[in-house]
Every structure is written in C-alpha cells, then in structure tokens.
Symmetry: C2
Subunit: 224 residues, 2 copies
C-alpha cells in the first residue's frame, strides 16, 4: 500500500433526514471551496479508468483527492493512488449498496478536503441505489459503457434523472457492439433534458479532453 | 404487446422473515415440480440475451416461463416474449433494487408455474442487493460479462458466494478487453470453491450448449 492511500470502514448513518444532511455537507464544502463530484455507474463501466485519465489531465491545474467506495477490496484505491499519486481514501461500506451524506462526510474528513479544489467520490458500482441518496456532492455524473447497451436510461430512470452529465465510456469498441449513440442520447434526454453527454474512451483517450475541460469549468465556477 | 406477456406491479413485502418465506416458496415449487432459476448480474451483462439463447435450446424438451424484473420499462419482457414465444411476466419493482421471496411469489402466481418445468426469474440488474435476498429459487446463477473485468468477484463478494454457477458472457470480445479467464476463475473459486463456470457468447452461441446441458440436468434432478 502506498502512503497516499488509506482504508476506512464507514459506519451506517444515524441521520434520519439525509437530504438535509447532504445540503449541510454541500454548504460546508462550498465554504471550503472544494467541489465534490459523485461518480456513479454499473460495475465495470470504467469509473476508475476514467478517473485516472481525468486526474492525469487536471492535476497540474487543480488539487484533487479521491474517495473510493467498495463493499470490500481495495483494488480501485490502489490503482488510483499508484497511477496518479493523488491522495486516495478507500471507503469500505461493509456490504452497503450506496453512500449517503453521512458516510460521505466520514470520507471527506479523512481526505482533508479543505486543501482540495476537487474531491471525487467513486460510488459503489450500482445503477439503482446510489441514485436514491444525495451524498452532498456539488454534482452527480454517471458513466454508461458501450457494452452495457443503449437502453439503460429506460431501465434505470432515476440514475439518469439525477445526473448532470453522462459519460459514455468504451467508445473504442463501438464497432463490436449493437450500441446506438443517437438512441442513448434520445433516452437520456427523455430522463433529463439538460444532461451533458460526453462520449469517451478511457483506453485511448478519445473525448477525454472535452470532458475534462467541462469538469474544470464546473470546479472553477463552484470555487469562485 | 404480445399475448404471451403481462406486466404486474409487485408490492413491497410484509414478511419479516424472508429466509423462512423463501424456503416455503422453494418447497411449494418443489411440490409442483417446477425449478426456479434466479438469474442475476450487473446491468448490461446480457441476462436477456443469454436467456433467449437458453430458451431456444431447451424449449422443445422442457416447459419454460420467464419473470423479468425491472425498475421500470418492459424492454426485456417484450424481447423474451417476441423472440422465444414462452410465457413472460414483467415484474415492475417500483424502484426497488432487488426481489425477495414474497415479490417472487407474486410473479410465480401470475406465471402459473404448476404447468412449467423451469421458471426463470431475471432479477434486477445489480451485483449488490439481489445477492442479499433469498427469492425461493432452486438455484442462483450470475452472469459476468468480459467488458466488466475479471476483478468483480473480489469487489462484489456476496454475489459470487451465493451463486451455484457463473456464466462468463461476451467471450466473443475477449481480444478487445484486458480480461483474464484464469484470474476470474481464481477469484470466483476464492468466493465459492464449488461454483460452476461457463464461458459463453450469447451473440455467436459459443459455450451455450454446455451451459444448457448442465441447466437441463439440474432441472431434471430437481423435478424427478
């Protein structure tokens, strides 16, 4: 384990009103001038790979830290810490299928977000439960990968409704799957007409500059 | 909508003891000589495609019916009904991230399982929550698809512990992803030393005969 990485076991929350608690955390982070990005997707969509590529492009301009949530294992936190060198906290949820604001706060505290411009929360790989809980993030972003199919905004409506942006990852394998970019846009806009859409490949870097430019703008707006 | 397909809104369960309730349903189905297969995976792993291929291979020998669980939409139920002609029930979970035994029973009742040798429950696309709830199934099977990565048994331990078999789908695209078949076997056996593993491609049919042969044997054993 590198010294950039730490594992904490997050405790189940005692707060009844998660929405109010999330708003409190959001305002605390706003005061600290730290933008909190809540990154969500199904298992295996490439959250960690997208994050590595994103950090590589932005870390010279803004200070970044990462919280990696997982039921178990520290695979992703190790990857982030080793490949990017940024401070990374592994949040073990002990089987919980999502993070809420109080669990996020436990990570935020360990991450010492006051020194950061951008804190990223990589949520549990799950298109259902994480969408139901406000984490206190400044912004929600989901990743849908090409092999999963373009029908996902129809089948997991809430996820695509609560996200400000959708990253379509693994566009390098578009030729090998029956994935219709026009249809996925149509279905996503049906859930959220304002959603921003970024087709990317975390493997070959295609589209990553546009996504990173947009993200940096959001961070700067929030922290100004 | 074809006349082979029906949508029902499943109600949240009132039973406190899901395990006991699941056992009761399992015994009821055993008495009816109906094998209930609980098929689980992340979103987009190919549950429906594997199911279509499976039904095509087995429907002349055994009587099959399908329950498709989804938060919303009837995409999968329509696909199954139209492509295979077997009786299909769409279960709308109203946002719930899993099915339990009582919700499954509501589907079983509509499906009229007494006439069936094999009832398939396609659970909500989610590697976390469905693993926590016994549905009353005779057997649990999960699908992991190649693009998701071979580390999933490390990151979603319970799912691979509770399953009798794991189908590795989309092996037709093995060349385009960093997916290590030896490693995924090692990680899956770590969770469950008795798990059966079937690498398949629902797209080109590779490996489907072995899986179907094994499934048919399990159905015949259960129903004998």
């Amino acid at each position: 384990m590198t010294d950039k990485m730490k594992i904490i076991e997050v405790k189940q929350s005692v707060f009844a009103d998660n929405d109010a608690d999330a708003e409190k955390l959001r305002q605390q982070l706003k005061g600290e001038k730290t933008f909190l990005l809540n990154l969500m997707s199904a298992p295996g969509s490439g959250k960690t790979s997208v994050l590595v590529q994103t950090i590589d492009r932005l870390k010279d301009d803004i200070k970044i830290g990462v919280m990696e949530a997982d039921l178990d294992s520290d695979v992703d936190a190790r990857t982030i810490a080793e490949r990017t060198g940024v401070k990374t906290i592994q949040l073990h949820t002990g089987g919980m299928c999502h993070l809420d604001a109080d669990m996020t706060r436990q990570g935020v505290k360990e991450l010492e977000t006051g020194e950061l411009d951008l804190a990223v929360l990589e949520n549990v790989g799950n298109l259902v439960c994480p969408a139901e809980f406000d984490t206190g993030a400044s912004m929600n972003v989901c990743i849908l990968s090409v092999p999963e199919g373009h029908d996902k905004p129809l089948k997991y409506p809430l996820m695509f409704t609560v996200c400000d942006a959708m990253i379509i990852n693994k566009i390098d394998v578009l030729d090998y799957f029956d994935f219709d970019l026009d249809k996925v846009r149509e279905y996503a806009y049906k859930r959220n007409p304002d959603i921003k859409i970024f087709p990317v490949s975390a493997k070959n870097g295609e589209g990553m500059d546009e996504w990173c430019k947009w993200l940096k703008e959001q961070v700067c707006k929030w922290n100004s």
